[in-house]
């Protein structure tokens, strides 16, 4: 179990080991066989004209791994899928990032990539919603849109020739994220899906699974809804606008802790699994702060092992 050193008692340790053992038996045997470390030789058939992909190099006519990870084969392409590397962006990825600098006509964002991403002023919708040319006034007012340390959701637009990353936030679903928690997990735990924005209606909570491993759990915001205020009621409406109901805050914390538990156990994060973990914690009357305790970790591991075993049994029955 990674990233967390829990104080497990003897019973919990035995249960956790049993659950992990079961997960290991359910996992395909090829996985452990395909694990390589730096400078390990990757067995390939020399007669096939194989393509050496990421994480491989040629040494004395042999294909050698330059990374620690798992060997993947796609037709003739052989590459190493690394486990602890930083995020590798692809065009169209939904990412969550944090503003670290405001530069002329652009914001710089930290997105867990080897270089800072750039969000151009021209690549996003202005607050007034009007499509027009950006002026010097807009440039001066950049800090009123996003300032340092703001959390932003955007989409990968493309790469520059020097490898730096360009983002865009043209749709109304992108933009500043407020009233929630930002969680950072390993990027390999978030798989690319069609849908990365999830609205959990039951809890009135939004969940954004960023491909870069930054996950946002926050209060639901209706797209396009802008609170209008009049002169006399200015103070009151601002106060109401910043207020998040206690129940919603509890749901956000429970959701965030579910993500923390699953990521620490190394399970791939899907919205179904997160909701299942969240509901399991609520149904077994586990307090929000107790979710990060040893017992809930063990229960989650056992539940996931059982789920995967059932899934495998169903597959075998179908055959």
């Amino acid at each position: 179990m990674k990233d967390r050193h829990l104080s497990l008692n003897q019973t919990q340790r035995v249960r956790l080991e049993a659950a992990l053992q079961e997960l290991q038996s359910v996992a395909p045997a090829a996985v452990s066989a395909a694990a390589v470390t730096v400078a390990d030789t990757i067995p390939v058939n020399q007669e096939d004209n194989i393509l050496k992909g990421h994480g491989t190099s040629d040494q004395d006519g042999e294909v050698v791994a330059t990374l620690c990870g798992v060997v993947e084969r796609v037709n003739k392409l052989v590459y190493v899928r690394t486990l602890r590397a930083r995020y590798k962006p692809e065009v169209g990825d939904i990412i969550v990032g944090r503003v670290i600098e405001i530069a002329p006509k652009r914001w710089r964002l930290e997105i867990n990539f080897s270089q800072d991403a750039v969000l151009m002023l021209s690549s996003m919708n202005l607050p007034d919603g009007i499509q027009r040319r950006r002026t010097a006034v807009d440039e001066l007012n950049m800090r009123s849109i996003f300032e340092e340390n703001d959390v932003i959701c955007a989409e990968v637009r493309g790469f520059q020739h020097d490898g730096s990353l360009h983002l865009q936030a043209r749709s109304e679903k992108y933009g500043k994220l407020e009233r929630g928690q930002l969680l950072m997990v390993a990027p390999y735990l978030v798989k690319r899906k069609k849908q990365h924005f999830h609205h959990l209606e039951k809890y009135n909570v939004d969940l954004i699974l960023g491909c870069n491993g930054f996950i946002w759990a926050g209060e639901h915001v209706v797209v396009g809804e802008k609170p209008k205020t009049t002169g006399g009621q200015q103070g009151f409406s601002t106060e109401a606008e910043n207020f998040t109901p206690l129940e919603t805050r509890k749901h956000i914390c429970r959701l965030a802790n579910s993500v923390r538990v699953l990521s620490a156990l190394g399970f791939t994060l899907t919205v179904e699994l997160i909701i299942e973990t969240m509901e399991a914690s609520a149904s077994s009357n586990v307090e929000i702060n107790d979710m990060l305790g040893a017992e809930f970790y063990v229960q989650t591991a056992e539940r996931e092992a059982k789920r995967r075993a059932d899934l495998l049994r169903k597959k075998n029955d179908a055959r």
């Binding site: 996985v31 452990s32 990870g69």
Partner: protein
């Protein structure tokens, strides 16, 4: 103020100081005899200390490793690749930034860590040949090594631990770098010396080696050596480095397999 250490101070107790003095006297006596002698920890001349290595102790870092060789304890954290904050010209290759520091309590006498600047540059030279710097242009990889306890042969352990941390961080490397040091006492060559043995050595040799490629990335020689003895010492180091490389590989393979599942 009295010279005697009070109960509230950090000075080593008098008994501990006496024991250390006795050990040094014994070592000096053995050196005078110029024959085989049992080392303080019961090892023979060509035995390394038991090694414990672990990946991922620092959760905030991209990759990290902890190494414990006898009394020497080292933790290394790797951050990056991340954008170079220095306003530099565009570079086709990445930068490797190494920094070695000692805790104030690492040595018996408080705050007497080794020359950090020198160790930092030596660590950089040892790792530079193994890291594929061309795979991360415009960016920097930071390697921070912290010696928690200095028990001798610090630099080789720092190099091996840093190599493990780089692999854990997913930095592309030609091979892992392992390192071992030997000390020479008159006619004898002893491997993996402790701090007491280092204090009385006639010369030392540190070899940083890539086991799979059979290439030496760094060789540091100090003191008086004859040609024949240098050859023997280098071969001894390379053999030990190969065995240490297997330990590092097993540790990484365990981590990879666990993470996959």
């Amino acid at each position: 103020m009295s010279a005697q250490a009070g109960p509230g101070t950090y000075s080593p107790a008098a008994a501990a100081g006496d024991r250390r003095r006795e050990r040094k006297e014994e070592l000096r006596r053995h050196l005078a005899e110029d024959a085989d002698w049992p080392r303080a920890d019961g090892r023979s001349f060509h035995d390394c200390r038991p090694a414990f290595m672990q990946t991922g102790p620092t959760t905030a870092a991209s990759g990290s490793a902890y190494a414990e060789f006898g009394k020497t304890k080292v933790i290394v954290s790797v951050f990056g690749p991340r954008e170079s904050k220095k306003a530099m010209m565009y570079s086709d290759v990445g930068r490797l930034n190494c920094n070695v520091s000692y805790t104030t309590f690492a040595t018996p006498v408080r705050g007497q860590g080794a020359d950090n600047k020198e160790y930092s540059s030596m660590l950089h030279k040892a790792l530079e040949g193994a890291v594929m710097l061309h795979t991360f242009p415009k960016t920097t990889v930071d390697v921070f090594a912290l010696v928690l306890e200095s028990g001798g042969s610090d630099l080789p352990i720092i190099i091996s631990c840093a190599s493990l941390a780089l692999a854990d961080a997913g930095i592309m490397m030609y091979d892992l770098v392992t390192s071992v040091s030997v000390s020479c006492f008159r006619k004898n060559i002893i491997i993996d010396p402790t701090s007491d043995e280092e204090a009385w050595q006639d010369g030392s040799l540190v070899v940083a080696f890539m086991p799979a490629r059979k290439e030496i990335t760094q060789l540091t020689l100090t003191g008086e050596w004859s040609d024949g003895r240098i050859t023997n010492a280098v071969e001894l180091c390379m053999d030990a480095c190969s065995k240490l490389g297997d330990i590092l590989r097993d540790r990484l393979k365990d981590t990879a397999t666990l993470t996959c599942e």
